[in-house]
């Protein structure tokens, strides 16, 4: 008899975005004349840069000719792209990354989801709260958590590290030993960052406890302030204890193109139960070679285009556009009397909902009174209750109008 992986049954149905969609749909049906502005989902809206289109055309032409046609590529990605990443993302910041420490993939979501396969089921995971749900859900599926506790909205055997206004969004080091630590900075959903001095504490914790840090820096391109690490490897010793996940999704508008990369330093070690050291880089390479067949050649050429002078200029214009939106949202919300966080080094603005509102109640109010859609913070974890996320990925016009409406709503 074919038996299922019963860990899947522990998953709570992820109603967040479908509930939002249904609420919006219902409201729109009942109010067909209202123009709803959506600042909820973290998806880009500006088109691909022209230079990227040119490189896609060129690569497509190669695929149409026998002499230049490309079949299976390396599972780890083509050197032409890996070399550019090393040069432009790491070498420029004084970080040495070797070519076989980079793995190109079709998304940071996949990589942050798949990485846990390398590790034993009895490792203890630690996540910040609120959190990008993929880190938690993939560990539930793998059996690395206990059951769901409805009262606390948490899973057994998981260490939750709250990040909220009270601790200035600086999560505390775990007070028990943990093995796998998921960190995402600039953070999704809060848009907040950690200074280098803070990150250093985590690297030290990992070293002292032989833990591993799974560092998601998908939003590093949005950093505008000094003293914020673009890469975890800016912190001394991080290559001994950290895997870094990067993505072109938000950096270059690739959410519909699919390309990302993960750095697994060769000095990174994990252990057998007998205490024997094993190279994580080798394990990940074996995982990717067995379960993945590389990223589309055309897509990798598109990603390479980002690193041309023209490409860099064009994607930076787009990032600036979004960050100008973020500024407008931050200022607009402040003027309307809200307490706001994030938005300076990330395309996400995290606001405190007014007293006596839950984050879902505030969602309803915003939809009905201002016709603006955002995301209730509690959807990202129990410590997200009382908060609300808006994204800077809308059009300028919609962003400005949304703020006007929110200000009017508060009058």
């Amino acid at each position: 008899m074919i038996k299922i992986n019963e860990n899947y049954l522990k998953l709570q149905d992820s109603y967040l975005f479908s509930t939002i969609a249904k609420k919006v749909e219902t409201y729109q049906k009942e109010n067909p004349n209202k123009k709803i502005i959506k600042l909820g989902i973290g998806d880009v809206t500006l088109p691909l840069a022209k230079k990227i289109g040119e490189e896609i055309d060129k690569a497509t032409q190669e695929m149409l000719k026998r002499e230049t046609f490309k079949g299976y590529g390396p599972e780890q990605g083509y050197d032409f792209l890996k070399e550019k990443i090393i040069e432009m993302e790491y070498k420029k910041r004084g970080i040495e990354i070797q070519i076989d420490e980079i793995f190109i993939s079709d998304g940071a979501k996949c990589d942050t989801a798949n990485i846990q396969e390398l590790f034993s089921d009895d490792n203890i995971i630690a996540i910040t709260d609120p959190v990008y749900p993929v880190y938690l859900d993939t560990n539930i599926m793998a059996g690395r958590t206990g059951n769901y506790n409805k009262t606390t909205d948490t899973y057994e055997n998981v260490v939750y590290m709250p990040a909220n206004a009270e601790n200035n969004f600086i999560p505390e080091l775990p007070n028990k030993k943990v093995d796998m630590i998921y960190l995402c900075f600039p953070n999704n959903p809060t848009g907040t960052v950690l200074k280098k001095q803070e990150l250093k504490k985590w690297v030290e914790y990992a070293k002292n406890n032989k833990s591993i840090i799974l560092f998601d820096s998908a939003y590093e391109a949005f950093i505008t302030e000094e003293d914020i690490a673009h890469s975890i490897y800016e912190i001394e010793g991080a290559k001994d204890v950290c895997i870094e996940f990067r993505s072109f999704s938000k950096t270059a508008g690739f959410t519909g193109v699919r390309c990302a990369y993960t750095i697994v330093p060769k000095q990174l070690k994990a252990y057998t139960k007998q205490g024997e050291e094993i190279s994580i880089n080798k394990l990940w390479n074996r995982r990717q070679c067995t379960k993945f067949n590389g990223v589309s050649y055309i897509t990798q050429r598109a990603a390479q285009a980002i690193y041309t002078e023209e490409g860099q200029k064009q994607i930076k214009e787009n990032i600036n556009y979004y960050m100008e939106n973020a500024k407008i949202i931050l200022e607009g919300l402040k003027q309307a009397g809200y307490e706001v966080f994030g938005g300076k080094n990330a395309p996400y603005i995290w606001l405190k909902v007014p007293k006596n509102y839950t984050s879902w109640e505030f969602f309803d109010k915003l939809l009905e009174k201002a016709n603006v859609v955002g995301t209730p913070g509690v959807g990202f974890g129990p410590s997200g209750e009382g908060y609300f996320r808006l994204t800077a990925f809308g059009s300028r016009q919609n962003t400005v109008e949304a703020m006007q409406r929110i200000k009017n709503m508060e009058k």
Copy 2:
């Protein structure tokens, strides 16, 4: 302390293709004037069809304009592609597939590798021998096998079903109860097929034993004979017990483009330990939504182009080209005195190596005497010993010349 998934340590290092590459490199260095013909790796060589290039261009143009730009797509794939697959691959053969039973992915390798996550670790798997290594390796990694036995070249707790000349490449039904049955027809590596009557026995076995069949039909487009199922769903009742994996890799030369699809019928059930029925379709949907972010929009438009009249004509020309190569290889080997299998409904030719040769010894002979590279059968499993694989994916000229050389070698 971060502990590894020790199941990875059970994996035998996959030296097959790297050993081949090294042997070829050494030989070429020592014999710089010899022109080596490679008929080893199963990768296509003909360029993409023109119509596919046109659709890539069109989709790229959409991505360059704000009004038509596409960000995140559905994790399950776009309806425009799924509808075409339903119509052209299934409805035409009298099979009803619903739109939420199809999942578009970036490769059948990924899907056949990931599907096992849905099932409990204590299910017993059955594989044909020889076999595409991904089925076995992913189950080793998940802990669904015991240790490797060097003497028998097999893993404990795995049911191996030999397919060889003695049983006419018709594997026998397992003599013990198994839960997950991997079948690939037309077969990689042997190129052989099962008639519908034979497949029916497997569907019945699965029904009687509440097992599930994981049916890989990545090579169905190469079928030329009657009475061979293109889809497992041509067999009555198969939707109750079968998942089907399909790919554009060989069908349309997409090995470097990356697009495939998997059918998970909604009536397909697996069980909890308590015997409760669970929908596998829902589990797979949850898996894909959590760990995958959909296939590139441009790639999905490229795949859709295959289903235009022009696209169909162009990809069929390519398949015919490869199958003409297969014919040349089959006839050439027969004339040279070899016993040959496959090659009529698949781009793979499986030959019996001469007596007193192992498949690796024959590899060396062929490289040295004919300067032709193929794949030793034992690389695909213990029952592959004594056999050798050649592929029909080379150029016409090379294929013809390789056969001439082999004939001369045998004189």
